[in-house]
Symmetry: C2
Subunit: 321 residues, 2 copies
């Protein structure tokens, strides 16, 4: 099969189109012919050698994809040849075929074609699973950083649908407007004093979904309410930060850090089922709207990585096969 090959970590040039063995579906697994592959920030890190796949997972990049079932392994019950699916993967999405455990496949969201659908599941599963870690409840204040980004746009809408008061940060007037248009009750410029602004507007956050890491650690703890919970899923602002444990203790607060990719298969399956049951209906009735994705031909995978690194792209990028 055709697949994106990376001989050694590096720049976009290390991405080359080549041949790889078509994987064989083991018991409980499904072989899918790819229609489109979602492109994620983690893919760039993996290309650069900073984010190796979990043990036992293919070297081929790609955390999500859509396609049509080609063949099912022993004991697979839900799927048969010809079914349309989207997949949450630990790797292998950048190829003509991929294999996934049957629980990590769900139908595309209602009314969304297979190409657009390739870029939805990773974000949906990340947001749903982490707002569970944070235990976000109806009426609570939720803060998401990068509210105009992929995770942020989705998290804003999902948290609103759960009945939260939503605050988001962003870096420009345009992006702040984007946050409000997607339902944020408050949008704060992250170049200013967003901690004070948040506290004044809401009293502080019950739950923070953080993609910045070290750089925001102190500010995030300040921004938490009593019993607040902060969930770190990205480290765009560095790895090692200062933690004021005295402040954390006086707030009885909690910091968790999680990654969807490294969860065990059983949990991924459970998360996919929850996405299908809870998030897909929200896409169906418009409570969550998808930003239009940028479609790039599979052969132009280098251009896709360049576009994502450049930072000018809005919305998801998908590689069309």
């Amino acid at each position: 099969m055709r697949a994106v090959i990376v001989e050694a970590p590096g720049d976009v040039d290390v991405l080359t189109l080549g041949e790889a063995d078509t994987p064989t579906p083991g018991p409980g697994e499904v072989l899918v012919r790819t229609v489109a592959s979602g492109v994620n920030r983690a893919d760039i890190l993996q290309r650069q050698g900073h984010y190796p796949p979990p043990p036992g997972v293919t070297d081929i990049i790609g955390l999500e994809a859509s396609g049509v079932v080609e063949r099912v392994g022993e004991g697979v019950e839900r799927w048969k040849e010809g079914d349309e699916v989207v997949a949450l993967l630990s790797g292998g999405g950048y190829a003509e075929f991929f294999v996934a455990p049957e629980g990590q496949l769900i139908p595309p969201p209602p009314g969304v074609d297979l190409v657009s659908a390739a870029g939805v599941l990773e974000v949906a599963a990340t947001v749903l699973s982490n707002l569970r870690v944070g235990n976000l409840a109806h009426g609570e204040v939720f803060l998401v950083h990068g509210g105009a980004g992929g995770i942020g746009t989705f998290a804003t809408q999902y948290a609103k649908a759960l009945g939260a008061v939503v605050a988001a940060t962003a870096g420009s007037e345009d992006k702040l407007r984007h946050c409000r248009e997607h339902g944020a009750d408050f949008a704060f410029d992250y170049h200013g004093d967003w901690v004070s602004a948040l506290k004044e507007a809401t009293g502080g956050a019950d739950v923070i979904l953080d993609i910045i890491g070290a750089k925001y650690l102190e500010a995030n703890v300040k921004a938490l309410k009593k019993r607040g919970r902060m969930v770190v899923i990205g480290l765009q602002g560095g790895v090692k930060g200062t933690l004021n444990l005295g402040l954390l203790l006086s707030k009885q607060a909690t910091i968790s850090a999680t990654s969807l990719r490294f969860r065990p298969a059983a949990e991924k399956a459970e998360i996919c089922a929850a996405v299908e049951a809870q998030v897909w209906p929200m896409l169906g009735d418009g409570r969550i709207r998808l930003s239009p994705e940028t479609r790039i031909a599979f052969d132009d995978v280098r251009a896709a990585h360049e576009l994502l690194s450049g930072g000018s792209n809005v919305g998801k990028i998908v590689l069309v096969h």
Copy 2:
């Protein structure tokens, strides 16, 4: 009534015996004549002005005490005059009488006299509630720092009773032996590389109960297993530490910081009920053994604080009225 008065924060000399108004039990509250008052590290911090009581709570020091019910307020169902009780307090224990919500009173543990019982509930409630925060399960590895201290000795035995593998740190051969004698499967000198020793012996900790804070933050995160949970309840080693969020993320780990004193009354009542139901039977059948307490006359409160600050005392200190 007689009570310990602190006119201004300071050294032990600011502790003076004086007169205060006997409190009146409001609805749902109970007035208790004190038999003995437990002395805790937090009392020293409060005396020094570093740990003010929560809003609405008396200025009189004292987080736990035992005594005999003198009078009950409106609507109190469980208690009547003459009942023997131990109390978890937000303040007020260093006095001839104290008032507590009825849910923060439980009977003394089976076979423990009222004087010894004055020093048990604060530790028991702290350990039980925080191992719940850490969600310690049967068969998991539990690490407690200061395994020969008040919290540590209790936590070691309680975690063993829950079926955990227990590791403890301590600072001398004597104290390490104390840890083993109270059931620790592993005891590590904290002057050495306890992180490596723990990992070699057990693979790492599922749950850490930490009383050191900043100084151990990096080491504790290293010592955690995947999905580990660390609960910080003391800051003996400082407030601001370095947190490696990358490591936390790769482990999918969680850090919580909590304080028993600042929990709402309803939670304290629930914790007291759990202590009575789960911990008291363990004291009854010897799964948890109390170290002999040091008894000091109420009038010698200064000596009690000096003894605790000095650090040479082993076991609890109680003030006898």
